[in-house]
Amino acid sequence: MKRSLGRSPERSPFSPGFWRSPLRGPWLTSVLGMVLLGGITVLFVTGLLSYAAYNPDLAPVNDKTPDKGILGFYLFSWPTDPHWLYRLNQGVHVTLGLTLIPVLLAKLWSVVPRLFTLPPARSVAHALERLSLLLLVGGALFEFVTGVFNVQLNYVFPGSFYPLHFYGAWVFFAAFLVHTALKLPTALRNLRQIREEKNDLVPVNPAEPTVSRRGALWFVGGGSALLFATSVGQNSDSLRFTALLAPHGPADPGDGPNGFQINKTAARAGIRPADTDDEAWRLVVVGRGGTVRLSRAELLAMEQHSAALPIACVEGWSTSDQWWRGVRLRDLAALVGYDDPDTVPDVFVESLQQSGAFRRAALRANQVADPRSLLALGVNGEDLSPDHGYPARIIVPAAPGVLNTKWVAKLTFGDL
């Protein structure tokens, strides 16, 4: 071990000799920064798309951040094609987020000496930049921690996940944009340079290297690869066994036609068997043409249609396509006065669920009109199980899982 000439080792992190890792320097920080620039941009865009997928501007029940103001400037009608759109979006958002954790930690490690620079501010601009870095680092960690906790159902954060993660993302992104604007030219220059320039990250008194910078990058990449390999499988029924540590791996909740992943069980949702048996349950359908009440047998007597569609959750897990069978939503609309297929309205869906953030949800006209959008009565050749929404559930192509309402009690067609 190399000792500095006769001096005792530097004890204060504010002294330049304290930070001794020979790995630190502009090249490593720039490489990690470029990876995060690309990766976090994808996280931000997929996050915004996920919000749009809820159709929050359609009805207040779909919007967990109604005070968004201009932050909802980009919202658009969420399409139903391709039918795996939300599955892909959320799989990328969550799996990429997990994969970037080692890169984020390494990036923060590579610049930590700058936290202890003296004087704390060289100029007004420098002081403001350091304040912005608090939003950048705090924001990044806040977003990663709330996301990682939410997918594990670890609801310890102070409030509802949706506003925390959505507004937190915008605070973070504001700092991320200005950080990119200020640092990207330097990072690109650092990467182009063959001989490394000196900067304040290069230790003045480096320790003996135990690994090369390229070795350190392989190390970070190995961490990312491990997190990726043990979680990506929760997005496919055939690869689920590889998702060793992901919340919806490595097993399915049962065998048989209904043995695929469940977002919320009937017991958890407070569904009582007495409310769903054939005597008690009636589907109430309301529209401009009046109100119709249908038993399950009457629904089964209507024209039955099939659709192969996945369940895809905001938490970043999904099932492969399941084979759903039931009544088209647009056929139900036709029962209550909307029989022109070109003017299918929106629908407001209510569940038997007594509580839960999405026991009521709204679907837009384009979703109702899609011939694959069903009030499903069965799946994979069998009746729905209680946990998958018996007696009847909504299934809509490309929609987030929570908009595929289970244990449906009432459908109100009409423009929302």
Partner: protein
């Protein structure tokens, strides 16, 4: 005589302008973020940065230094599996420690019991693989080294 108050130079006006833009957007989102238990939310936001910079990072750096002293030039064979295992624990500790087990079971109908076992098995594979690599490299080095050297 009044003490001189040191004045801070302004710095780049363009940089100040860009940062002002960023703060305005962050402020717009920030008042919405803090609409609730503002103190606790702010604590989580700032606390995440502080906890990382003054607790987590010094802890793993100290652990790594201790490892380096103990393992010498073979440190990578211990550092890599230990760090990868710690990374998995850091990300999945709510499931691995079982602290969300009851909610997990009742919400998903899945068993919460396998996470600790699977994390331990992955850890065993990581350390086992590293040990195997270490032995193979030692043997190859012994073979390649001419006997006259020692």
């Amino acid at each position: 005589m009044r003490p001189r108050i040191p004045t801070l130079p302004l710095g780049s006006p363009l940089q100040i302008l860009l940062l002002a833009c960023s703060f305005a957007l962050a402020g717009y989102a920030g008042v919405r973020l803090l609409d609730g238990d503002w103190f606790e939310i702010a604590l989580w936001f700032v606390g995440a940065a502080v906890l990382h910079d003054v607790v987590l990072l010094p802890l793993y750096a100290a652990a790594d230094r201790a490892l380096g002293r103990a393992a010498g030039r073979h440190v990578m064979y211990v550092r890599v599996p230990a760090a990868l295992s710690a990374l998995l624990l850091l990300v999945w500790f709510p499931l691995i420690t079982g602290q969300v087990a009851d909610r997990y079971r009742s919400v998903t109908a899945l068993s919460p019991d396998g996470f600790l076992a699977r994390w331990l098995l992955i850890t065993a594979v990581l350390f086992g693989g590293s040990a195997l690599l270490f032995v193979l490299r030692l043997r190859r080095a012994a073979k390649e080294r001419p006997p006259t050297v020692h």
